[in-house]
């Protein structure tokens, strides 16, 4: 079972898209994009406030509330989530899960607190990974700007032990390049933990997605540029996955029954 996820990086009120998580370009109103992806059969949506950690605030609540109003698939929200209180606010606004990176690195105890209070399924560990050497990656924060000194494999292992229920694994090296996912990184993490792993960063064509699932053993694939720029649509992606015998939600048939 593979989940196809549309990832929307938000700055202020806009959907943005960068390369290597930087050089941000404004794409437009996130709600219009998310509504389209929902209707097109995205299995989930991920919203990341790309500048929240930089400014030490979280302004996603309002956008989440507007988005969640008309979207009836799961919504993961991240960026600037610092406390159990922040999580409570986002969940009350319509988010189903929160993705935490910076605050978890600074205070790993937050992972346990969130997972104990809201369930581990709610606590998505967001990891920004940059390759340090062949087969070695370092975890970064703040859109790949700040080094943490943490080895990604060690960090994910610890975070899952603390209660992270899912891993959003973004390759900073690949993000926005449309050159494909970091497959060795994905395999290293999928083999390491028994919680679901979401591949993020680098999708440019269908082969990239197939590789992430078949070689990287990802449980879900997050897509951004490839969708935002209209290079591929979700219905195209879904039918290509089906032809490849991947198990997907049978979205079209379900809706036609209604």
């Amino acid at each position: 079972m593979i989940r196809l996820i549309a990832r929307l990086d938000i700055k202020g009120e806009n959907l943005i898209k960068g390369v290597h998580l930087e050089g941000l370009r404004v794409m437009g109103d996130p709600q219009a994009f998310s509504q389209k992806y929902y209707l097109d059969g995205a299995d989930e949506l991920i919203y990341i406030d790309s500048v929240a950690s930089l400014y030490g605030r979280n302004n996603l609540t309002e956008i989440v509330r507007r988005t969640a109003k008309d979207i009836f698939v799961p919504l993961t929200v991240g960026g600037g989530v610092r406390s159990v209180e922040d999580v409570r606010h986002l969940l009350a606004s319509g988010a189903d899960k929160v993705a935490i990176n910076t605050a978890a690195v600074k205070n790993p105890g937050l992972i346990s607190e969130v997972s104990r209070r809201f369930g581990s399924q709610c606590m998505v560990l967001s990891v920004e990974a940059k390759q340090a050497a062949p087969g070695k990656w370092e975890a970064y924060t703040d859109n790949g700007r700040e080094k943490t000194g943490l080895d990604v494999v060690e960090w994910v292992r610890e975070a899952v032990k603390l209660g992270a229920g899912e891993v959003l694994l973004t390759s900073v090296d690949k993000e926005g390049t449309k050159k494909g996912f970091d497959i060795p990184l994905l395999s290293a993490i999928s083999e390491l933990v028994n919680v679901p792993v979401i591949a993020s960063g680098g999708m440019g064509n269908l082969d990239h997605l197939f590789d992430a699932v078949e070689k990287g053993h990802a449980n879900a694939v997050a897509m951004a540029s490839v969708l935002h720029y209209g290079q591929l649509t979700l219905p195209q992606i879904r039918s290509a996955c089906r032809e490849r015998n991947m198990v997907l939600r049978d979205y079209e048939k379900t809706s036609s029954h209604c």
Binding site: D96, G119, N194, V195, S255
Partner: protein, 227 residues
């Protein structure tokens, strides 16, 4: 006149999403933790995200355990979602033994973290899964939801009904049969989140309200937008 649905607001549910989904289906959603409002409801939903013992504690701290049991006996439609459905059962083994509402006989147990071949099964069970009906294949739920109904699941524990006829649907999670829909008379429970399962889930909510989706303009608009 819109149908009014009371959603039990006990601090453990994604009440915003559940309310929105009900509004989509043409109903009016009222959040309440007031026993009198809950018992007077025409339709009641017990949502829930989180741990079973915490959920029961929150309910009992608000004096809602007995009112919910009485409502269940009233014959009026009562839907439990995810943790809400799990709490319909007698007990759980989550963080030790804990009593539930006991509306349906059975208990809630951890999904085994090993598959039959000994390999690891990923826990929590997160994602979309197709409903299977087994012995209940000719029942009203199976008929209404159809063969291609996919629900969105997020959970680590699953219900085991004491009476096989209370299990109306299940799904296959890497070889483990996860109880997906339970029910008996006015009681309906689903392990997946209908408010997060796209149009299929909205259809289940509409059914709970006794509505025909074909007559609902919101469903028509949504279907048209997909073409």
């Amino acid at each position: 006149m819109k149908k009014q649905v009371v959603i039990v607001d006990y601090g453990m549910g994604n009440v915003f999403s559940v309310s929105r989904a009900l509004e989509f289906c043409g109903a009016e959603a009222v959040l309440s933790a007031d026993a009198a409002v809950i018992e007077a409801a025409q339709y009641l939903i017990l949502p829930g995200v989180g741990a079973f013992p915490d959920g029961m504690q929150e309910l009992s701290g608000r004096g809602l355990v007995e009112p919910l049991r009485r409502y269940a006996r009233s014959g009026k439609p009562f839907l439990g979602i995810c943790l809400g459905m799990q709490m319909f059962f007698q007990s759980t083994e989550e963080f030790g033994f804990h009593e539930g509402l006991g509306i349906l006989p059975g208990m809630v147990k951890q999904i085994p973290d090993r598959k039959a071949d000994g390999s690891l099964r990923r826990i929590p069970h997160i994602g979309w899964n197709r409903l299977l009906y087994g012995a209940a294949k000719d029942g009203a739920i199976a008929t209404a939801l159809g063969d291609n109904f996919w629900g969105y699941f997020v959970h680590s524990f699953a219900a085991e009904t004491a009476k096989p006829e209370h299990r109306l649907a299940y799904c296959d999670y890497d070889g483990f049969e996860v109880t997906a829909v339970v029910g008996s008379e006015n009681i309906l429970g689903c392990q997946f989140h209908p408010e997060k399962s796209g149009l299929a889930g909205l259809k289940l909510l509409a059914r709970f309200l006794g509505e025909e989706t074909t007559a609902n303009p919101a469903f028509q608009t949504e279907l048209a937008a997909r073409k």
